[in-house]
Symmetry: C2
């Protein structure tokens, strides 16, 4: 049994433009509650002792406070302001953690992560230093490069979800690197600092809500 | 304007095992109709002159006939029996086509292909010989090989859908090759025969129904 403090840094930087919507996607109501509240609930119901840090653009803090009041949302969390890239938002969240802990970084718009995915990722991060949930590709995949496309062996490819969980020391050290535009997620930052990344089976429902179709899918899955 | 005969070979080989269901997935009822009938409807409502060939395991033909009766399904189509691999099922379907036509090969469990995707794929296949619909990857991707995994540039990767549409001559020639286990779709067969594959923008709703979650998604999208 491991008694290290757990942190969840929940990053929600969306402005809502891709959804064709004025309300940033993390605030859209699904099954009666803003998506971001569903996401926070996932972590709190997994471990009520976890410390939650929510990273939001500064311009959205007052709107978030109004939503908290409207929904009488009572789960304690620290709110801090995000940066221009996800990398800087995570850096901002890391200020509220400590170096002898386990830190999960999660997308604010993934409200469907399962308890089992959380359990498995934390367990692997405890023993191996890092853990990210992945699911197999369900379609054939083509690689396009310099206008040429070719089939690749799809059994070699996995789709990456969050939470991406790390021993704090590894993560904090990795985030001392300069920002690089190839950093698409936390695993890529930690990997570039020379650490292996361990893969864990994710749950297929753990979708990232980015397109209107995702919102419809989340609506049914959250109503269950 | 192109007046070549169009064919749709709709391949439905599923046994239903992956869905945890006794009924093969192509026969599951969604929004009041078996999935395969929704799929046939997509092609018929796109072009009522298209010739439709449905490839089904021999053991399912009588069940299919009962469903046709039950739903008074009136869209004309040829039924033929499938092979042990998708490759052989497509070969079986090709026997009902002619070499001066355009042939679309489509998954029976993709009942959500849009008219626009069909239009664009047929138009590109007419001018360029081949066309397959693709959508961009929405998640980070990792490549796993020999137990090592690494991040790849996701902007280079596209998820492949169907219909995969070809000028008949190209397709029929490609299917004269010996079966190869790397043939995951028709594009990979045509590509191996030395032909370029042209990519067309697919519609994100055009999912392949393979997992229970896909069935729920299809249920909402087809009820619209």
């Amino acid at each position: 049994m491991n008694h290290k403090q757990k942190y969840a840094i929940i990053v929600a930087g969306g402005s809502g433009k891709r959804m064709g919507n004025e309300v940033p996607k993390q605030f859209l109501e699904v099954a009666g509650l803003p998506i971001l509240m569903h996401t926070i609930n996932c972590f709190f119901s997994f471990d009520s002792e976890i410390k939650i840090v929510v990273v939001l653009p500064a311009s959205q803090h007052s709107y978030w406070n109004k939503l908290i009041e409207k929904h009488s949302f009572s789960i304690q969390h620290q709110v801090t302001k995000g940066g221009i890239e996800r990398f800087y938002s995570v850096l901002a969240g890391l200020k509220f953690t400590d170096s002898d802990s386990l830190i999960a970084i999660h997308d604010g718009v993934r409200p469907l992560v399962s308890k089992k995915t959380l359990e498995n990722c934390f367990a692997t991060a405890i023993s191996k230093g890092s853990a990210i949930p992945v699911v197999p590709a369900t379609e054939s995949i083509r690689k396009v490069h310099n206008d040429v496309n070719k089939a690749v062996n799809r059994s070699h490819y996995f789709m990456v979800q969050t939470p991406q969980i790390f021993q704090a020391e590894i993560l904090i050290n990795a985030y001392k690197q300069e920002y690089d535009c190839t950093f698409t997620d936390d695993a890529s930052v930690v990997e570039k600092a020379g650490n292996p990344i361990h893969l864990v089976e994710g749950n297929v429902e753990n979708i990232k809500i980015t397109r209107p179709i995702d919102l419809k899918i989340a609506e049914i899955l959250l109503q269950k």
